[in-house]
Structure formats: C-alpha cells, structure tokens
Subunit: 333 residues, 2 copies
DNA sequence: TATGTTATGGTAAACGTTTTCTTTTTGTTC
DNA sequence: GAACAAAAAGAAAACGTTTACCATAACATA
C-alpha cells in the first residue's frame, strides 16, 4: 500500500505538506507545490488510510445501525433513509441484525464500541434497548438515537401510534362499521399497546362497546393474522364487519383467510393495516393502511444523530406524521 | 477513553503483557498476572481500539456490501445471508446502496478503500461492475466476490437463470399451455437475457413457435408488469393463456391487471414469476415462482469471500440450485 | 542595520495497538 | 555453587496519519 510518505518522497516535500493539501488546511501552500503533490497522489494511486486518520482524529465517520432483521419488510425503508443521509454527510453505515436477541445485541455493541463508531441508531425496541442501556450508555457514552418508542433517556424519532391507530379506526367508523375487530401485536410491545389504545379511544369516543372476542393477540407475523380470522365471529348478526390489524403482514394474512372462506373484502369485511409496507399496495385488494413514513424515520434519525455529533442540541423526541392510505380493502369503488 | 496503557498501569504490568492476555498469545503468562490484567480490564471498562489494532495488523475485519437498493425486496435476503456469515466469522458489514449510479458506486469504492475493508461483495451487476473494475481492482486489489452474472474476472456466486427459466416455462407447457407470453427485464440486463433464453429454449423444445406479441419488455418494476398486460392478446382464440414474468414484482403487477380486467388467475391465465420474494406467497392467488435462494446466495458469497481472505483457493463460479415453487397462480386446486 | 512580518515549508510527537528483541527471574542439573 | 534453560515480563519500534511548533527566506519597516 502506498502511504503518505511515498507521496511525500515522490513529490519532494514533507508528509506535513502532503497532509495539508490532502485536508485543504488553512496553512498556505504554494500553487506549484500543491500541484506536485496532487500529481504524486494521482500517479501513485494513493488512498489515505482512514484508520491512521481516525486514530489521530478520534472520529471514524462511521455509525452503527442496529435493527431486528433487515429481511422484515418494515426495515429496509428505514435503512435506506439512514444510509442516504449518512452518505450525504460523509458517514458510513455498519448494519447489525439482532433478531431481537439480547446476546447478539450485546455482541454487536461490543464490536461497534471497539470499532469506535461515532454514533449509533437503534430500532426495534424492547430487549434490545435494555441491553443497550446497560452496556453501551452506562460506560462512556456514544451518541445514540432511537427510532420508535423507548424507555431510555435518548433522543427519539417516532410516530404517534395511539393517534394513528385512532384515525384508522375512525375511518372505519365513518364508513358505518361498528363491529370492528383488531389483531394486535404481542402484548409486550409498546407499539402494539399504543395501537390498541388508539383503537379503544376511537371506539369509546363513538360510544361503541368493545366485545371480548374482538381483540385477538397476534405477533406481527403473517400467520398470526391468518389464524386470527378463525377466532372471529364471521356469521350471524354478531359478526364483525371490519378488522384493524396492527401491521400489514397480519392484515394481509387476514385477507387471505377471509378470501379462503369466501368472504369478500371489502364488501363483507373491511380491513385496515398499519405500516404501509411496499407489499400493501400490491396485494388484491390493495390494502388500506396507516402509512408510517419509514424512509423519513431513517432520514430524520440520521439527521438528528448528525446534529448530535456536531455537538448541537437536539429535541428529545421528534414525532413524524402518519397518514391513512385508503385503498381498496376498506372502501368500495 | 481508557487505553491499554491505563490497563497496564492499573494492573501493574507492561502494555505488552496486557496485549498478550488480550490476544491469548502463545507467550506464557502466569495465571496470577492474567487474572490481574483481566480484572483491570473489567474494572476500567476497557475496549481495545480496533483502529489502532487494524493499523498495526493491516486488517479491519470489515467488508463492504455493494448493492443497488436495499429497499428492493430482492436484496434484504441476500444482505441477511451475508451478514449472518460475516458475523459468525467476526466480520462487520458496511452497507452501500448505489441506485446503480456509477458516480455513487465510485464514491463508495473510494470510501471502502480508504477504510481499508478486507473485502467486498458486489451485487446488482451492470454499470456497477464496470465502475468497480476500473476503479477498484486495477489499482491494487481488494478481495472481491460477485453475486450474479458478471464480466469481470472475479469469483462469482450465481444461479443458472437459463435453466431456471426453462423449467418454469416447461411447467406451464406441462399444464397444457402453449400460448405463453413473457414479460422480460430490461434488454441490457444479462439476467433478463438469460431468462429470455430459457423461455425460448423451452418453447422451442416443445415445438411451439413464439409469436411476436408474446415477448414484452419490462423493467423489473411492478408497473411494467401491470402495463404489459395491456399489450397482450387476451381475447379471441389468439389469446395467451399463461404469462412468465422475469421477476415477481412484474408478475404481481400482471396479476393485478388481469384481476381488474375480470380475468381469472389461474383459471383463464396462469402466471409464473421469478425470485420468490417474500411477497410472492402472500398475494392472492399465491404466486408460483422460481425460488432464487437469496439467503443462500448471501451466505455463500460471504463464505467464498472468507476463504479468499484466508488465502485459500476458491472456485471461479459457484452455482446454486433454484427450484420451482408451485403455488396457486399456475395451478388449480 | 536590526527587527518584524509573511509565506512557505519541515520536524517530531502523538494517537493505541502488536511484536521483535531483550532482560529478568526461576528452576534444573551437574 | 556454577552454568544453563525455561518461564515470565518488559522496552521500544512500527503501523500511517495530523498538528503543534519550529525554521527559513524574502521582504518591509524603522
């Protein structure tokens, strides 16, 4: 590998001078010298060693992005948002899939720490956060931003799940539905709790009593939505006429189950999901859903992190707006 | 930040000794000394500085993963595969989205080079490869593995697109279809060319003449599949009875268009896609498709790269098997 | 002439590790 | 008790940068 020394020798100057032209330093350099250095750099194919540089400057221009699983369709949008802004600001992103495993999370935190990343963006909540707090923040801090709900005392970027869920259910109520079931996320998920709360508030505001069979716990996976349908009253005059699922995957599972039972969506049962994963617009009928601005969540998180790294104050919480994307599954053409 | 010196002082030994226990060196260390060092490390919360280490050792245990767009549902599976193996082998992954832009690709290659990544995995072909060859490999090499077809002289991990496409079409022929249309990828894509070739060979082997209107060029996006349907003969006895799309997104677009025209899938028109993105099993009817083992592509690519980095010989091409995932869109229950 | 000042450039320490080479300590053998 | 070997530990150079500080030359100023 060619080093700054080689360049210096080749250009007939000191390494100091090479370093100066490399970094556009304040220090005056004569045009001829600069030219010679630039020529030497080109000629030798010199690429400064970022590690030596980082060692000296104590910054790596690298951040860690920790999430449960990139293969979950909710996350790629976030990642892309983070990455775009990171790239624009000269940062590089290390991707860490934790599968929500505490072990693996800690493992990654150790590596990120050893690699001296300048900052970290977390998403995926829960156990991950605990591990992080313990491990990362308590022993010397690394700038960190969290996407989503969290208990830690860290800057967060999130959406208002209670409100968004409420709006989704209000939409169904406005269409005349009263008997509305909901497929929730796992009870431990704060996100799921918020979405359930939104459902409750909308129903309550409308004076509709929620019947016991209407709330079915899922796990955010396709299958749990599919299976939830089996537990719902679908015939007789006790039957439900709409389903609000806590995410799109479960909503699509529910649609599939309804389809297989010969129940028409949206004619007999309307369905609304949550997240607006890419898939949502492609299924038939196209899924009405709460659009979570995943890309913007990523973009904003990285922006906040960059502010933090620049030593500026950042808001403790940034809340991004959702909007209801009404498609075919909840409304007749 | 606490350094190895602090640990040494705290444990009353030299940095050499600390380094030795840190790296489980051959050099004998008395149990008591080791204990003292370990205790000091723990007590001070010491995390070795990977950059200083890398500078010395000339390896970063980091690799770059270059792809067009993580938000494209084809890629997360690959990324996950790469990441899993990388993690297992002690590597960290830097994610680079290029949007197939030559500019951005070169930009990233520069950064990866400066950060002295140990290796690179490329996927997404085309322009990217050119940029890479030029920039990366010609001036001092970095271990590299390519996923998919490529022209460069680099170890590759791929599937046999010709064969896989042929099998997909043979499946349709076996079901009795003769008038089979195909929605291709962009003409410049080698992948698309291979898949078209497979279609041709299957038809030819069966003695079916391909009519001009049957081959419609798409661009691998949902919309082009949707729009392709408009150009197909769908009524009269010249009508096609099956569609082979070069990827799932286009296949799903086609299904949507057929649905809107009141044409039943698979009863009136069968559809087969390619890739087996997660979405494929969730749409209605569930999409029959050629299952590309994306996760395994990632896993294998990283394994090959690791071999390369260990200085071992690797096969120039590793071909992974595809299989046809027959679901509802091409066969009646 | 002595003294600054400015423009340009260089020397060498520092960043935090690993590792080669030495040194010290301990133990064994005759 | 001398001689040596083995075990344990340390000193210092090296990795490739950045930068504080210093040096020189040219020129202006009093």
């Amino acid at each position: 590998m060619v080093t700054i020394k080689d360049v210096a020798r080749h250009a007939g100057v000191s390494v100091t001078t090479v370093s100066r032209v490399l970094n556009n330093s304040q220090h005056p350099i004569s045009p001829e010298t600069r030219e010679r250095v630039l020529a030497a750099i080109k000629e030798l194919g010199f690429y400064p060693n970022a590690m030596a540089r980082s060692l000296q400057l104590n910054e790596t221009k690298t951040i860690g992005l920790i999430l449960p699983d990139i293969a979950n369709p909710y996350y790629p949008g976030i990642v892309r948002g983070v990455e775009d802004v990171a790239h624009e600001k000269g940062y590089t992103v290390i991707l860490c899939n934790t599968d929500r495993s505490r072990e693996r999370t800690k493992e990654y935190l150790r590596v990120l720490r050893e690699k001296r990343v300048d900052g970290v963006i977390f998403t995926g909540g829960g156990a991950v956060e605990d591990a992080s707090r313990e491990h990362f923040f308590e022993q010397g801090s690394v700038a960190t931003v969290v996407i989503g709900r969290h208990k830690a005392d860290l800057p967060a970027v999130q959406v208002d799940n209670v409100r968004a869920a409420r709006e989704a259910v209000e939409h169904l109520l406005r269409l005349g539905h009263r008997r509305i079931a909901t497929v929730t996320g796992p009870a431990v998920s704060t996100t799921a709790r918020d979405r359930l709360e939104g459902y409750r508030r909308a129903m309550e505001a409308e004076g509709v009593d929620i019947e016991p069979g209407w709330i079915i716990e899922g796990d955010f996976e396709f299958n749990s939505g599919y299976q939830a349908v089996a537990q719902m009253p679908l015939s007789g005059n006790q039957r439900i006429t709409a389903i609000f699922a806590h995410n799109d995957l479960m909503a699509i599972g529910a649609i599939k189950a309804l389809y297989e039972r010969g129940i028409k969506v949206p004619e007999e049962v309307a369905v609304v999901g949550f997240d607006n994963i890419p898939l949502a617009s492609f299924v038939t009928p196209a899924l009405s859903t709460v659009a979570v601005p995943v890309y913007d969540l990523g973009v904003t998180a990285m922006r906040v992190l960059a502010e933090l790294l620049a030593g500026r104050k950042v808001p403790p919480v940034t809340t991004l707006a959702t909007h209801l994307e009404v498609r075919e599954s909840s409304i007749l053409k």
